[in-house]
Symmetry: C2
Subunit: 372 residues, 2 copies
């Protein structure tokens, strides 16, 4: 079967939604955060560790898996779930974000698809909407993304207008070749911070009838928080209530709260694992730099009261030591902590929506998060 989204309730005081997604690999609750497993592994973690963080769905990257080991290899190994030993649901992106950042000039972006050079060996490659879907069909993820154009934050109105029209044609082409009966396919709304473009993109994408909808173009370099919130605000009203909504590439705690308030159900981001490798930890009172000298003999956990494996078993002093001497176990421990932090945030968000107190919860969280 494909996924089934169930809207359980909406908070009385805002658009925050509580729901579930039924998949072939179990039912997950929304709002939720998806850890990113770019190359069929959430960096430095085992599937069991990711699951122990409370994760529902994880994300894997089509572009990276297409290049190595190749979708046919993954398919021969029984699909992504079996390949990486993850028995929960998986979402794959379209590869669009990566190839657009690799395309060197405008003429590389054609109606057919995007021409670019492999980041590994410089081989000239072409990714088309059909190819993206074909790869995702073979990877056998539970949710596939349509291939969309990811315009830079600097793109002007005229460029964006043409771009969303092409993205619609690409969405239709992708939908036509999609042929995995166990895989849902999402459409993607673009349009920058422009109300009319977002509305047009959302309405036309919904007409194509996808299994869920993503809001794209919000995690590029350089766009402001305000533009991100506008992009959500201008897209959501035109998306159907009975389909799940996914804000792509967003994982900052405050952005998650802002997204949920506006009606978003799913988030993903490399942030928790990336900052972990650089020694940063999320805490309720903001991010802290674990390499800081003041932690050298600090016997307390990274965050007092946190229920993650790192905080239950190790001191700041030990984590700081591991990071200082470049031992990978340090980044691994912080990755667990940071993922658990975001998952726990979504657990609390769900509790709050259940009790119609999401806005209070959000306010309280943000006050504390910005308090230091």
């Amino acid at each position: 079967m494909k996924i089934k989204y169930n809207l359980l309730k909406t908070d009385k005081n805002c658009k925050a939604r509580l729901g579930t997604i039924e998949t072939n690999y179990g039912t997950v609750e929304t709002p939720m955060f998806m850890p990113v497993g770019t190359r069929a592994t959430v960096k430095s973690l085992s599937p069991e560790e990711v699951k122990d963080c409370g994760s529902g769905i994880i994300l894997a990257n089509t572009y990276h898996l297409w290049l190595r080991p190749g979708e046919d290899i993954v398919n021969k190994c029984g699909g992504l779930h079996k390949f990486m030993n993850w028995n929960g649901p998986i979402l794959t992106d379209s590869g669009g974000f990566q190839v657009f950042s690799l395309a060197k000039n405008k003429k590389d972006i054609t109606e057919e698809g995007v021409h670019f050079k492999s980041h590994i060996d410089g081989t000239k490659l072409l990714l088309t909407p059909e190819k993206s879907i074909e790869i995702q069909n073979k990877l056998d993820s539970d949710i596939a993304m349509s291939f969309d154009e990811c315009p830079p934050a600097s793109a002007d109105y005229k460029y964006l207008k043409n771009s969303i029209e092409r993205t619609l044609r690409w969405a239709e082409r992708g939908k036509k070749v999609h042929n995995n009966p166990n895989q849902a396919l999402f459409g993607i709304v673009q349009g920058g911070p422009h109300e009319d473009l977002r509305r047009f993109s959302a309405e036309e994408t919904v007409k194509l009838d996808f299994d869920g909808y993503s809001i794209g173009g919000v995690a590029n370099d350089g766009e402001s928080k305000e533009d991100m919130y506008k992009a959500i605000d201008y897209s959501i009203p035109y998306l159907p209530d009975d389909k799940v909504r996914y804000l792509m590439g967003v994982g900052d705690p405050i952005d998650i709260l802002e997204g949920v308030e506006r009606g978003v159900d799913i988030f993903d981001c490399v942030l928790p694992t990336r900052i972990a490798r650089h020694g940063q930890a999320f805490t309720r009172t903001g991010k802290i730099h674990m390499k800081n000298a003041k932690y050298i003999d600090d016997l307390s956990p990274v965050e007092e009261g946190c229920d993650c494996y790192c905080c239950k078993n190790y001191s700041k002093a030990y984590v700081r030591h591991l990071l200082s001497v470049d031992e990978t176990f340090g980044g691994r421990l912080l990755s667990i902590h940071n993922i658990r932090f975001l998952i726990k945030l979504t657990e609390e968000i769900r509790e709050a929506i259940k009790e119609d107190r999401f806005l209070d919860y959000k306010k309280e969280f943000i006050n504390k998060y910005n308090s230091k």
Copy 2:
């Protein structure tokens, strides 16, 4: 309490010994292999993973922990066990091996100790027998090593003779300042491949009455296998039966078998984790290179029949993929496999000694290991 070694039996056909070591952190069986946790972490693994490999004791490095985070920090954190969350026994080396490799010329090696520059920032440092023991006392390992001179494999007879005499004086100085009632202290036998020097070193070290004895100078660069076996053969007869014997720095499967046959109880080596990071796996038919292109779509585990976490859950294709794209989870999986391989080897060795068939077991293992 300090450790207590119990000799359970000796194989009827050779010197292979079956025994146990009682420690404050549980009883472990010998012959055994100790994984190396240089900087208070077995590279890339959690303590639970190391334990799941069947490990008894792990080794940590005095030199590295002295420099970072410093023995006082570890002590303040409750000692090594608590610091790194390892509730099994820990052995620390003396730091000798590292500082001798950092000492640039002969005049750096004095009666007082060894002058050298820190590998981190070039700071001039001096490690003495007293300092080594003081650091180990504070690290609070279960077994400490005496500070010995580690002469290069090229050292001549005259040099070695003077060296073992100084090592004896150093052993005595270290023993005098040792003051951790929960920590055993081992003496180290040196003497290169020379029968009379090994005998002298062993007899004189035993006179100082240590809690166990190590055979050193066998894992340097350049010495031959033959010299290693000689070093063992010439040392063992002069070591008491009721004390445990540790061959330092040796972890090649065949060397372990050769050592056990000659009466060695404990081995340690960075080999299983180091070769794992480079993509090599131990198997019963010899080492294999997991990055080899032929494994790209190989659905079988790294080793058929292996009971480790890696082999029970992942294919060669997946492990190869992780290694090919430099994902640390690949080295982690192979580290688990390689450590489990050596631990399993020692488990089988113990079973064989129990049934007086160690020599048959050894022959069979080596024939198979060298068969490809």
